[in-house]
Subunit: 319 residues, 2 copies
């Protein structure tokens, strides 16, 4: 599979990961397999494996030789999504069918753990140092970022730097690892590996910012989840941080009331406020900043189809 | 630290793991650290690290050189306990509030994931093949065993062989890995490594059977969790399997009603029934069988203090 064919064959990469999983993942345990298959089938843009393959090619490797590595990157993402589904006792109590939710929690934790274990079992058996180490450090970063985000829920004074740190850990770490490991296995030199890791990190931060932006600007149909979902979860996303930074006391008070649970129907009005306070424009400026840093990181990489495709993927974050 | 000092210094090993954790585990994330510290401080017999050190010594290694490896074995156990609290929705674990109850399921999932990731990060950085691979395969086994157990909940026709398979995966796999990795790092030859792995597996199965037995025979104070807790969770443990095997239709019908949720106060009566049907005696016979297999597995190991201590720990499962 060449970069050319990858470029326009989104579906190929999609089915590649699924075929790899079908062909190699074996357990006598249909419950575990089903939980993982369902999450895989739910789709996604497969950006992580795509970046792995492009990084390998950018260093002179052949994408076709690193398909498994690429698939592991997507599967780490899938495992974190499965664990993301675990809900709190508090939320369970409010739920309609506590038993069903409880059963879901049990299976979600075990299926995610099994998938992590299966990935590490394969990676430790088949990849040289430091690939297994990079992947376990990445998982630690993801968890750390998620917990910092949990602690920051409802915090309207969250600094932009802290937001970026959360995004770097919970989202960008896996993009960084995807690029880094692709570069390592593609035979990259130290400088190329470092450049591609830096690229992945900046790409990942911009990707998270774009995700935050879409949560405000897109409708439920295109998101596959309710619009304003981040607000509903009391996350302090970058459009909100930027809007609050403008210092409008009435807007802040409105968000405060909503986050304190006193105005549960305020999401449409807060979304309008974020736009009115310039939160969307400021977010786009931040995305542009990390897109520029990602492209600058690629300077040590020789020009070619792989590099051009990485640039194209990065610039797509600005649309 | 020699085997002699280990033998009677349970507290030393306890504090060793805690000191190692304090000294080496660092995260800016107090929530993660607290969740893990609490589970560690709750105690436990530290059998897994003890077996690692004894296995290293049994192969001619020095226990003092493998303290970290031993601590990782306990920490893998701790990580699975943190996730178990979500999985089983357990209210109490080791006599302290379960992490999930104190912090919410989301934090439990993330703290367990972080601990797994941290362990693998260190093990992949510091231990040669196949140690990281053995540990990830072990984690896959543990999850697999837990899911099979989940599927078997309430199944009064569970075969003894299936019970043993569950115990082998969810419990014995980590004892087997503890012994195997201790033997590998202690410089053991192939035959010694295989012998100690086999020992750990048989020890672990007997250990799980003893745990099942204590759940029926001990009171809440000595268990640190409610007695009859396995019955309350509709687990089919070995004392119950053995009691049901005697073919008393009235007893089976009573258990069936309880497991169907129609007689929620029946635990004391079922406990009496298990004893009356010979379930405890049959369990002790099965423990003796695996204790004998564990001791036989040690035949390739030269006599010495380490081997004698392994035998002593194994025979303690019969008391």
């Amino acid at each position: 599979m060449s970069v050319h064919s990858l470029r326009d064959t989104h579906d190929d990469l999609q089915s590649l990961v699924e075929e790899f999983f079908r062909a190699t993942f074996s357990t006598d345990n249909p419950i575990i397999t089903e939980a993982i298959k369902r999450m895989l089938a739910a789709g996604g843009k497969r950006l992580r494996p795509r970046i792995t393959l492009l990084a390998a090619e950018a260093c002179g490797g052949k994408a076709a030789e690193h398909l498994y590595l690429a698939a592991y990157m997507e599967l780490i993402h899938v495992a974190t999504l499965i664990h993301d589904d675990v809900v709190d006792n508090a939320r369970m109590r409010r739920g309609v069918n506590a038993t069903a939710v409880d059963y879901g929690n049990r299976v979600s934790v075990l299926a995610g753990d099994y998938l992590f274990a299966w990935i590490f079992k394969n990676v430790t058996a088949n990849y040289p140092h430091p690939v297994p180490n990079v992947l376990s450090a990445t998982l630690a970063d993801i968890c750390d970022g998620e917990v910092i985000q949990l602690q920051a829920l409802g915090n309207l004074d969250l600094a932009l730097e802290t937001y970026v740190e959360i995004a770097r850990k919970k989202t960008a770490a896996l993009f960084a690892a995807s690029a880094q490991c692709g570069a390592i296995m593609g035979g990259g030199r130290e400088a190329q590996i470092a450049a591609l890791r830096e690229f992945g990190e900046c790409f990942g931060i911009a990707f998270q910012m774009k995700d935050d932006l879409l949560d405000i600007t897109e409708d439920e149909r295109s998101l596959g989840k309710p619009a304003g979902n981040d607000l509903a979860e009391r996350k302090t996303t970058i459009p909100l941080i930027a809007a609050l930074a403008c210092g409008n006391g009435r807007f802040r008070a409105q968000v405060r009331r909503f986050y304190d649970g006193q105005a549960n129907d305020a999401i449409p009005s807060i979304v309008q406020g974020i736009e009115a306070e310039g939160g969307l424009a400021a977010t786009r400026a931040q995305i542009a900043r990390f897109v520029e840093r990602a492209e600058r990181a690629l300077e040590p990489i020789a020009d070619g189809t792989a590099k051009r495709e990485l640039v194209r993927l990065t610039e797509a974050l600005q649309t």
